[in-house]
C-alpha cells in the first residue's frame, strides 16, 4: 500500500518534535526510519497511524488525502501498528487475542472460531508462520508474542504495518524469524515501516532508509544509495558541542568499584565491571533500554543486583538498602523527577530536605525545624535560580526544568563522594542544561566521583573524562575523553559487530 506524509509538523508546547517532514512509503517496500531518541521518528509514525494530530501537513493513503479522527480510521483504511509495548491479553489464547475486536460472529454474537482458523491457515501457509493458536499468550516467549501482534494485523488485512522498535526485546533467532515474516509480507505487496536505531538491522532488511535528527528529515532514499557510515553520521550529526571541559583531571582514589555485577530479570544485564575515581566524570553512553536503568537501580539499591559486588569508599554496599547506601556516600539524580525525584504534592522546602530529615540541622528533637528547612530551600532557589513562588509552594507548581534544578541542587548539596546522575538534563531547557552541566563539573573539580548515565551523546562527550558504551546489557572498554570520537561511540551504541569493535580498538 502506498502512503505519504507531506510537510508534517508536530509541536508539544515550545518543543517542535517533527518539523516539516515529508516521506513516502511505496507498496511492497520495507522502509526503515532511523534516528536517536527524541529525533521525532515515533512521533511521525504516530501521526501516520492517527494517534497524534499534526499541526500542519497532510496524510495521503493510496492517493487519497486522509484526516484521521482516531487510530480506528487508520485501522479501517488498512494500517496496522505494533507498539513497542505489546497490546495483548495474557490470559487469553493466541486465537482469542487475534480475533478480539474483530470477531467473526453468528447471529447471536457467538464467535465462529473455525472461520478465523481457516482464514489464518491461509496466511500461515503464505508467509511460513508457525504458532499454536490454542496456547495461552502469557506462556509465550517474547518473539512469539511479537508474532501474535503481527497476526492481529494480518487477520485484519492490514496493508501497511508500522513496527516501533520491533527487535528491541528479541533474541537474534527470534529477530531472524520476524524478518523472514516481514520479507514475505513485503513480497505479497504489503508495506512495512520499521522504527529502529540498530543500523545492522537496517542494512539487513530495509529497501529504503529515512534518517531523522532533531525533528527534521536528514535524508530519505534507497538503501543502495547510502552506506552504514553515512547513515551513522547522519543520525549523530556533524556538529560537536562546544568544549566545556577545563583543567586536566588528576584522578584520585577509587570511589565506586563494580565487579561482575549482574542485574535485571534473570541477570540479563552484565557482568559489568568498572571503577569511578574521585575527581572524574565517567559517562555511560548508549541507546536507552540497553541495561542502563537496571545498572542504576542495582547501584542505588532500588533493585539489588543478581550477582557481583559493589564497593563504595572501600566498603561493600551490596547488602545495604537505599538509605544505607546514601549514608555511606551516594547521591542519586533520578531520570524520573515526577515520581522518583520529587513528591509533587509536598512543598519545595519539604522536597529540598527529603532524605535528610534525620540530620540534626533540620530537626529539633523528634520535630522538623521548619525555619531551617525553609532557609535551606531558599538557598537552593537562589543558587540554582529556581523559578518558584517560595519554599512553601507545592513542588507541582514548578516547570520541568525548575523541578530538575531542585533535584540536582538537593542531591549535590549532600556533598557525597559519589554522585550518580541519570539523564540529568532530560527534557529541560538550554539554560537549565548549562547550569546542571556546570554543577556536575564543579563537583568533579572538588574531588567528587560522578557517574553520568545519559542517552544524549552530546552530553556524554561534553562532560566525561572517560566513556563507557552500553549495548545489550554489556559495557565497552573505557574510552579516554581524548579518544572519544562520536563516530566510534555511535558505532558502539548501535551494534557490537567485529567491525565496530575494531574501529574503536
Amino acid at each position: 500500500m502506498h502512503a505519504a506524509l507531506n510537510n508534517i509538523r508536530v509541536a508539544f508546547g515550545p518543543l517542535v518534535a517533527v518539523d516539516d517532514v515529508s516521506i513516502a512509503i511505496a507498496a511492497g517496500e520495507v522502509h526503515a526510519v532511523v534516528g536517536e531518541n527524541g529525533a521525532g521518528k515515533s512521533t511521525l509514525m504516530n501521526v501516520l497511524f492517527g494517534l497524534i494530530k499534526p499541526e500542519a501537513g497532510t496524510i495521503e493513503v493510496e492517493g487519497v488525502a486522509r484526516n484521521w479522527a482516531s487510530p480506528q480510521d487508520a485501522i479501517r483504511a488498512g494500517l496496522g501498528m505494533v507498539h513497542q509495548h505489546f497490546m495483548l491479553q495474557e490470559e487469553m489464547t493466541v486465537l482469542e487475542n487475534i480475533v478480539l475486536c474483530g470477531e467473526p460472529v453468528n447471529r447471536f454474537g457467538f464467535v465462529d472460531f473455525n472461520r478465523a482458523r481457516q482464514k489464518l491457515a491461509d496466511g500461515f501457509r503464505e508467509h511460513g508462520i508457525v504458532i499454536d493458536l490454542d496456547a495461552t499468550v502469557g506462556g509465550l516467549a517474547v518473539g512469539q508474542r511479537q508474532v501474535v501482534e503481527i497476526l492481529k494485523m494480518l487477520y485484519r488485512d492490514a496493508r501497511l504495518l508500522i513496527l516501533d522498535e520491533p527487535t528491541a526485546v528479541l533474541t537474534p533467532q527470534e529477530k531472524d524469524r520476524l524478518f523472514g515474516i516481514l520479507r514475505s509480507f513485503a513480497a505479497s505487496g504489503k508495506s512495512i515501516v520499521i522504527i529502529t536505531h540498530k543500523l545492522d538491522e537496517v542494512l539487513e532488511i530495509a529497501d529504503r532508509v529515512s534518517v531523522m535528527r532533531g525533528g527534521r528529515l536528514v535524508s530519505s532514499g534507497p538503501l543502495g544509495e547510502t552506506s552504514k557510515d553515512r547513515i551513522a553520521r547522519e543520525i549523530i550529526g556533524g556538529d560537536l558541542p562546544p568544549p566545556l571541559k577545563p583543567a586536566a583531571r588528576t584522578p584520585g582514589e577509587v570511589v565506586l568499584s563494580v565487579r561482575g555485577l549482574r542485574a535485571g530479570t534473570r541477570g540479563w544485564v552484565g557482568p559489568l565491571s568498572f571503577d569511578v575515581h574521585a575527581g572524574e566524570i565517567v559517562g555511560i553512553a548508549g541507546v536507552s533500554g540497553n541495561g542502563q536503568a537496571e545498572l542504576i537501580r542495582a547501584l542505588a539499591g532500588l533493585a539489588p543486583g543478581v550477582a557481583g559486588e559493589i564497593m563504595l569508599n572501600g566498603q561493600p554496599v551490596d547488602r545495604l538498602d537505599v538509605g544505607g547506601r546514601r549514608r555511606t556516600g551516594m547521591s542519586y539524580i533520578p531520570e524520573d523527577r515526577q515520581r522518583a525525584g520529587l513528591a509533587l504534592g509536598a512543598t519545595v522546602a519539604e522536597n529540598a530536605n527529603a532524605g535528610r530529615d534525620d540530620v540534626s540541622t533540620f530537626s529539633r528533637g523528634p520535630f522538623l525545624d521548619r525555619a531551617a528547612m525553609a532557609s535551606f530551600a531558599r538557598g537552593l532557589i537562589e543558587r540554582y535560580r529556581i523559578k518558584v513562588a517560595g519554599p512553601s509552594a507545592l513542588a507541582s507548581t514548578m516547570s520541568g526544568g525548575n523541578k530538575q534544578k531542585l533535584v540536582v541542587g538537593r542531591e549535590l548539596a549532600r556533598g557525597t563522594p559519589l554522585v550518580i546522575a541519570e539523564n540529568p538534563t532530560w527534557g529541560v531547557d538550554i539554560g537549565a542544561i548549562e547550569l546542571i552541566h556546570a554543577e556536575l563539573l564543579r563537583m568533579r573539580d572538588q574531588g567528587h566521583a560522578v557517574l553520568l548515565v545519559s542517552t544524549e551523546l552530546d552530553e556524554i562527550l561534553r562532560l566525561s573524562d572517560r566513556v563507557l558504551v552500553m549495548y545489550s546489557g554489556t559495557l565497552s572498554e573505557p574510552i579516554e575523553a581524548a579518544d572519544a570520537d562520536r563516530n566510534r561511540i555511535g558505532a558502539l551504541m548501535t551494534s557490537r559487530t567485529d567491525a565496530a569493535l575494531r574501529s574503536v580498538a
Binding site: 487510530p71 497490546m87 475486536c101 454474537g109 464467535v111
Partner: protein, 300 residues
C-alpha cells in the same frame, strides 16, 4: 447426631440456600472478569428482594415479581456504572453507597408503599410454585433434591453452564475478559472498555436482583428488612476465591449454601442461635485459609 443433620430433608433444603448465593456470585463473576471491583452484591440483592415482593404483590404473578427484581438490580447496576465508570468514583466507595442505599431505600419504601415496619407478609404476595419433575421426583434421595425446587434454582444451574460458554465463545464474553485483563489493548483494538464494563454491571445487577427474588418470593413469601443478611458478601468471597470462573464458583456456592442450610438445622439441636448464625462466615474463613495454604504449598 449425624443422622439428624444429614437426612433427606436436609439435602432437599440445600438448593434453597445455594440458589441466592449462586445467582449473586455469577453476577459478581461477570463484574470480576470485566475488571469492576463490585462488592455491592449485597445491596443489589436486597433491592431485588424488595421489588420482587412489590411486583408479585401488585400483579399476583411471581414472574412479574422476578422481572421487577431483575430491573431493580439493573437500576442499581446502572447507578454503579454512572458513578464509578463515568464519574470516576472509587469502586469500593460506590459499592458501599449501593449497599447503604439499598438498605435505606427498602426500609423507607416498605413504610411508604405497604405502611409497615420491619417485615411485610401478605397472602397476596404470589410466590413461586415448586417445580415437580415427573419420574425424577420418585427417586429416593436425588428426587427431593432435584425435584420440587423453585424455578430460579434450575435457572441458576443453567446459568453456570451458560456463563461458562459465554466467557469462552461469545463476543461480549471475550470483550468482558479483555476489559478486565488489559483494557488498554481493548481500547487500541477499537472497543471502549468502559461500555463493556457498564454492560457487565447491568448483567450483574440483573442476576443479583434474581438472587433477591429467590430470597423473598421463593423461600418464603415475605420481605424483611435486611433480609439478604450477608449472603451478598458470601457471594463476593466466592467470586474472589474463584476469580470469577463459573465452575469453581458453582462448587464454592454449593459449599456455602450447604453450610447456610446446616446452620438452620443445628438450631434444632439446641445450639445457641448466635453460634449458628456464625457458621457461614466460619466456613468462609476456613475455606479462605485452606485455599491460601494450598496455593502457598503449590508455589513452593
Amino acid at each position: 447426631m449425624f443422622d439428624l443433620l444429614f437426612d433427606a430433608s436436609f439435602l432437599a433444603s440445600v438448593p434453597r440456600f445455594v440458589t441466592p448465593i449462586l445467582l449473586a456470585a455469577l453476577g459478581g463473576a461477570i463484574c470480576e472478569r470485566a475488571g469492576v471491583f463490585n462488592i455491592g452484591l449485597e445491596g443489589m440483592m436486597l433491592g431485588g428482594a424488595f421489588f420482587a415482593v412489590v411486583g408479585a404483590y401488585f400483579s399476583g404473578s411471581p414472574y412479574v415479581g422476578a422481572l421487577a427484581a431483575l430491573l431493580a438490580g439493573m437500576a442499581l447496576g446502572a447507578i454503579f456504572a454512572e458513578f464509578h465508570l463515568r464519574r470516576g468514583g472509587d469502586a469500593i466507595v460506590v459499592s458501599i453507597a449501593i449497599n447503604l442505599l439499598a438498605a435505606g431505600m427498602t426500609t423507607f419504601l416498605l413504610r411508604a408503599i405497604f405502611d409497615v415496619a420491619g417485615a411485610f407478609r401478605d397472602p397476596a404476595i404470589a410466590g413461586f410454585a415448586r417445580v415437580h419433575i415427573p419420574v425424577l421426583e420418585d427417586i429416593p434421595v436425588l428426587g427431593p433434591v432435584f425435584s420440587g425446587q423453585s424455578p430460579l434454582f434450575y435457572l441458576s444451574l443453567a446459568l453456570v453452564y451458560a456463563l461458562h460458554v459465554f466467557f469462552l465463545r461469545h463476543r461480549l464474553g471475550l470483550r468482558i475478559r479483555a476489559a478486565g485483563e488489559n483494557p488498554t489493548a481493548l481500547k487500541a483494538g477499537g472497543v471502549n472498555p468502559l461500555w463493556v464494563q457498564a454492560i457487565a454491571l447491568l448483567m450483574c445487577g440483573a442476576l443479583c436482583g434474581l438472587a433477591g427474588a429467590q430470597l423473598s418470593i421463593s423461600n418464603v413469601n415475605l420481605f424483611v428488612e435486611n433480609m439478604s443478611a450477608g449472603r451478598g458478601w458470601i457471594a463476593v468471597v466466592a467470586v474472589l476465591l474463584t476469580r470469577g470462573r463459573p465452575w469453581p464458583l458453582f462448587f464454592i456456592a454449593l459449599l456455602f449454601g450447604a453450610v447456610d442450610s446446616l446452620s438452620f438445622r443445628v438450631q434444632g439441636l439446641g445450639l445457641p442461635q448466635q453460634f449458628t448464625d456464625m457458621m457461614p462466615y466460619l466456613a468462609t474463613l476456613i475455606v479462605l485459609t485452606a485455599l491460601s495454604w494450598w496455593r502457598l504449598k503449590r508455589q513452593s
